[in-house]
Symmetry: C3
Subunit: 356 residues, 3 copies
């Protein structure tokens, strides 16, 4: 029974959101249905990626996991870029980063900490994650501060954005090389343990061929549902008097990351806090170091270049999230109160974004 | 002889400042006398709290210590709020935070470090303190930066201030729960040792009934003397051409924290650096996470809402203090040079506030 | 043969740059020749300092090393101050700090990390270095932020600059006392090992008398070549349309630090990463805590006071460099990817400075 629940709901909401879109139901209804649908298709994509990873071997699998993990955000981002909604793209990037660093990580540490007094994970990985987060804010912060003090011609802003985006993508690819190949064992500990336990827990439900087919199917479904969701945003925000930035940073971001949320919290409760941190922090690093710069490049393909310059409040939100997350994760020990502090910061940012 | 010195001076200066106030002596004389008087009554309040704590048992005692510890600052703050001197309230909050983090902590590490080459304390407590400090600046920084980039209607600023203040108070109360109940031993080490030694050193001089009476008496005295002191500030600052912010941030803050200053330095010299850090950092956390938000709520009772938006230089001062204090305390090891660095930063801030 | 190569090239380029200067060759040619010449004379000065240090004993030697180490930067700085080129002085101070923290340190960690999987050094030294870096940015950041929010009369800015400069110099001298005398062993580990090995590797090539003579000669040569180099900058920057700040921050800074660059990288490859970090971080600390404040005092001798107020983008550049360097060095472990992150930040800053 339980086995058929997920595929059933997945299909139901996908079909409903398709009908809603083509029959032009009210924007609110379309928004709600396609938002729920995104959660299911993102979950489906996650499962398919995991299954393909299993057959592809650990190294290639890890890479697939890393790149497909944020596929939903990437596709939503490309659609927003195509529509020229640059402000909402940046707001949803901001929201993904702070949502992962504060809400996902915060709930994981809190839930895990209620069950386990103190949870531990690899200190070296914590340190590397912290440094990567710092590089990510530097890359977003430097162009913004330089532009604020010097009027630059438009083509210089474009060049600067392209070069910074290129540096970030190279840094991200080399991080995959470093963390998955040259220094895999240096960063391991929870991962090691997982590797032993995983075969017993997650016997792949699908064959190799099935897994690949499902991966392609899931990606296509994510693309469609994302498009339908994005189509409703304009009307929806106007109707409720919400600012574009609040919807981008909180609504779209929470919906797009729903799959990661539940996985990270469950792992934390099973005392696999290292895996939780990898999902939450790793996901926000992918957004900042890979998804955001790729969107800059993609915008050039559509002929309308998007720059990498974020607004002051977006930078402030990302900056404070990185600082508190770095401070809390850097000793490789976590507890319930640290989770709560992250949630408190998320609440402060949420209220501030809502009120402007 | 020595036994009667403190009560004698306490009474003498209290009576003198009362006479000065009602006989309307010159503002300067009144200021000097009531400033000295505040130091004595704050010391008296500290002793009474400690004695009541002894009878109340460790947990309730710790809580009383934590809440009465900054009673003088809180009462001075309430009086300033009542008079509508919001700028001076914020300046004195700023001053209390940086005074504790830089001057009290700096002098403690320096004095302790001259006697003991390297002093150690609990690294986990250091980490938690650091994260709480970061949350405190985020809470003050976020509303300020959002307001700078977006014009907000006055009632939104009021709502934002109330909500942020509420979040901080909840975070502070849960910190008491975490640090005194659920993770008491995780954060202990110096505290443990103290617990064993304290009975011998501090046999309570007063009975239970006496202690409670003295606690009430001391609180009333603090309230009166604080009121008289605040009454002189306007005339005093005008006369010497000092800015309100310099007086609030340096003069009022030093006077109001005099009791903590001496206690922290003495403990450091006895190699109880953990207790020193707890007084200095703990006190500044109380101000930021409890006293400041309570004052926001209190201002609503007086019908003149105070917002939680600090000026750029106050935020800069608090921000740099938190960064250097976090950097110095995070490894759980201290030495004389680290104390000196804190004092150097205090001097730079002091000169800057004096010159504007 | 190899033995005569360095003195030969040193003499050749020194003579060439002298001829170029007096025969008034084209600015570009003069610039190139004297830039190469600075690299050689800085290397000569480094060798002479090392040799004198050998005879002076470890303590006095360390002090000499510390003060003569940045002699080239100091002399270039004094010449720029004399010409009133305050913007270029500050740009070259900025460039020296970020060049050492990002390029020198980055290349060292990268080169060392390619040969050695993980390199270790003293964690206590890492912590102290981090705190000193924070104090350095605070000292530069506080006057700038206070000035931005309050209009100050010119003489107040001058007083503030002098006092902050004085505090930094005192802090730096006490750091020498702390690190070389009172807590020498606390910060040692790589240094210890070096002390044992050095005699075998670096038998001083020169006698005591020779060493002192060479030290004086090298200092004089540095002074001359620096003067000639500075003389060409105006014409050179104008000709290539480069901003003064780009030339100061990248060209002058790279040339002036060439000697440190090669030394630090070679030491890292020999797995003496502690010594590399000391050169790179130590050098940037000297610039911030000693060279910059000395230049403020020197400007008063020339009758044209220079303030200590840096521009927003200079502060941003120094700030981000300190944050990433602190984050990477604070755990006392390094690897090739951390070096690469530092170089990535340097590239982002370089492109930004170039485009404005």
């Amino acid at each position: 029974m339980k086995k058929y629940l997920f595929p059933g709901l997945l299909t139901l909401f996908f079909v409903l959101s398709a009908i809603g879109h083509f029959a032009e139901w009210s924007a609110t209804l379309q928004f709600v249905i396609s938002a729920i649908s995104v959660i299911f298709v993102a979950g489906f994509l996650g499962k398919a990626t995991e299954s393909v990873s299993h057959y592809a071997g650990q190294r290639l699998g890890g890479f697939l996991n890393a790149t497909f993990g944020n596929a939903a955000e990437l596709i939503i981002g490309i659609l927003l870029v195509k529509e020229g909604l640059f402000d909402m793209v940046k707001a949803s990037i901001t929201g993904s980063i702070i949502g992962n660093l504060l809400l996902v990580l915060g709930l994981s540490l809190f839930a895990g900490g209620l069950k386990h007094k103190v949870q531990h994970y690899n200190v070296s990985l914590a340190g590397m994650n912290g440094s990567l987060m710092i590089v990510a804010i530097i890359a977003l912060f430097v162009p913004a501060i330089f532009l604020q003090s010097h009027e630059l011609p438009k083509e210089h802003i474009t060049s600067l954005s392209i070069i910074v985006a290129g540096i970030l993508i190279v840094a991200y690819l080399l991080w995959l090389l470093f963390s998955m190949i040259t220094h895999k064992d240096y960063l391991a500990d929870v991962t090691e343990t997982n590797a032993e336990e995983l075969p017993h827990e997650h016997k792949p439900a699908w064959s190799k061929r099935q897994s690949i087919l499902y991966l392609i199917l899931a990606t296509v479904m994510v693309a469609f549902v994302s498009e339908w969701l994005v189509g409703t945003l304009d009307t929806f925000t106007a109707k409720f008097g919400l600012s574009e930035i609040f919807v981008g940073a909180f609504v779209v971001a929470i919906v797009g990351n729903a799959a990661e949320h539940s996985a990270a919290i469950l792992l934390a409760m099973k005392n696999k806090i290292g895996a939780s941190v990898e999902i939450a922090v790793g996901s926000s690093l992918q957004i900042a170091l890979f998804v955001a710069p790729v969107l800059v490049f993609v915008s050039h393909l559509f002929g309308r270049p998007m720059d990498i310059v974020f607004t002051a409040i977006e930078l402030a939100a990302i900056g404070v999230s990185v600082f508190i997350a770095k401070s809390i994760t850097q000793d490789g020990q976590t507890n319930w109160y640290e989770g709560l502090l992250l949630i408190a910061v998320y609440a402060i940012l949420g209220v501030s974004f809502y009120l402007i």
